[in-house]
Symmetry: C2
């Protein structure tokens, strides 16, 4: 049995957030001690991880609440729950793709900065470089050429 503080350490959530979640009913398995202290068993910790996963992948609290309530209604709601996860999983996958693109962009940007720092000023007469900078959103281009031209 874990206290809020321990649960926070285990899940990486803050104590504030955990109290918030339990108060909203997102962790139905959580118990209270005789002195009203929240007690998390392994299953409650798992629920916390589940809530964390759903939330961090972009599901609003209200939707998570809906999902949890469906869980509590038993197996009859399995089709509905299945549909929810299918839909949300799709969304999460799209976000993942975007995140990959963002990381790629940031890495390109870093690379170019490294080149500049190494003294290799990018060849702005080369259309390929221009394209690359366009891909990089223009700021390096802007700072290292446009301003200098003025």
């Amino acid at each position: 049995m874990h206290t809020v503080k321990e649960a926070a350490q285990i899940t990486g959530l803050t104590e504030h957030a955990i109290r918030f979640y339990t108060d909203k009913g997102l962790v139905p398995t959580v118990q209270r001690s005789e002195h009203n202290v929240r007690l998390f068993d392994e299953q409650s910790i798992n629920w916390l991880f589940g809530v964390r996963c759903l939330k961090q992948s972009g599901m609003p609290i209200e939707a998570i609440k809906t999902y949890v309530d469906l869980c509590l209604q038993g197996d009859s709601t399995v089709p509905e729950r299945s549909a929810m996860m299918k839909k949300h999983g799709e969304e999460a996958r799209l976000q993942l793709e975007e995140a990959k693109r963002h990381v790629a962009h940031l890495e390109e940007k870093m690379l170019l900065y490294e080149e500049i720092l190494a003294g290799k000023t990018p060849d702005t007469t080369n259309p390929a470089t221009w394209e690359r900078m366009r891909y990089m959103h223009g700021d390096v281009f802007y700072a290292s050429t446009v301003l200098q031209e003025k």
Copy 2:
């Protein structure tokens, strides 16, 4: 030259957000027409993409503002900008890893739901299944066994 509406269509941002960004000075290349209409050339569009990338990968607006201001100060700030991108890129990569895990979790969950829907009730006497359900945060476990045991 694009108007706010067009820029919104191109970048996938809302007009509200674009006005918000330009007002905050995150798109230094944006111009105004003689009648005060925001005009976005290709470079401004690129900046919008850049801001979108940074924001969506978790950088707060204020930090983006700082970065943009550094860009405007010219090549002398390249080391600092490079460091910022390095640091933020690292963070974005961590988030990407988390996102992957979340998608994996959701896919596992979906798979189990599919199995249940197909009539294959998970074997709860098998420790491996138990482990798998733990990985899935317990809600299927909870709904399909614990409640029934009562």
